[in-house]
Amino acid sequence: MSKEEAFTQIIKDHQGLIFKISALYTEQKQDQNDLYQEIVYQLWKSFDSFRAESKISTWMYRVALNTAISQLKKRKRRPNAVPMDKVVVPTTETVDVEFEERVKTLYVHIQKLNILDRGLILLLLEGKKYEDIAEITGLSITNVGTRISRIKQKLKSEMTKK
């Protein structure tokens, strides 16, 4: 398998991961597309330096989250302004409006967190263990645990406000 083939296969397998990160760190559709492309570009650039010591997904999360931070623009405080077209669009013909609405609310809650906490909660929701999260973020496992319980409390109180 050539380098290009291997790379395209990896991107295809993990395109949901790139989508979710670019959606969490942008507010507008155009910015989301730009960030998506930038992540793919950065992954390609560092593909040669990827060492099989870590899991491919760990490397991808790290590069994608780092890229999202490096491309952060000054955000306007509009936490409820998540456009509908930036969340999941069902592939079936019948659009589940309720599901869309819930996903939208989910994004709104997470986007209210700071840039570090957003990354941590994303990794937790993706089912990553504390050790993996620590490896990706560079925080200690204890620190990850403390922060995550704080984020959970923050989210809980935010969600019960509604």
Binding site: T8, K20, S46, N66, I69, N114
Partner: protein
Amino acid sequence: MELQELQTLWSEMSQELEQQKKLTNELIMKMTQERYSNKFQKISMYETIGAVICFISALFILLKFTVLDTWYLQLCGAFTVLFLILLPILTLGSLNRIKRINLAENSFKDTIVQFTKAKKQLLLLQRIGIYLSFLLMFTILPVASKIGKGKDLFLETNIWYVYLPVMAIFLFFFARWGYGCYKNITSSAENILGELE
């Protein structure tokens, strides 16, 4: 929505995304090569074009510097030239610091720390730039008038009666707006740095 619900919803959404595999090999490779219509790349392009314009203007003033025949015109000329050369160099350097962050090797925490520091430096520079540009408005007018028309504006007092008050009002509102923006962004930057360092 409870936390457990949040996790279930995230998994449902991930499954939906799994079904939406839209990327083709061609599209992926295009993204790696062309970086088409990427807004982020345009920022430093605008800064570079701006810097080139500043350097050309500075060079023009330097070539005509002997026309500035009084000490105050020479002082205005020197300030203008320094401003047009130094500020773009410092801004481009600051942008470069952001670009140099190693996205492949850094941990998420290191990237946040480096990016936040570089962003703070850039914002400080932009803020200084805003204030200095008002001084530039004051110095560039007599320099341009002397080089372009041979007139010493300091001897023609009438123009200053209009120019100075207008400039002062503009400076007041612009500086207040600039300070507000800077304060908000840097305080959130300070918070995140405080937590991480």
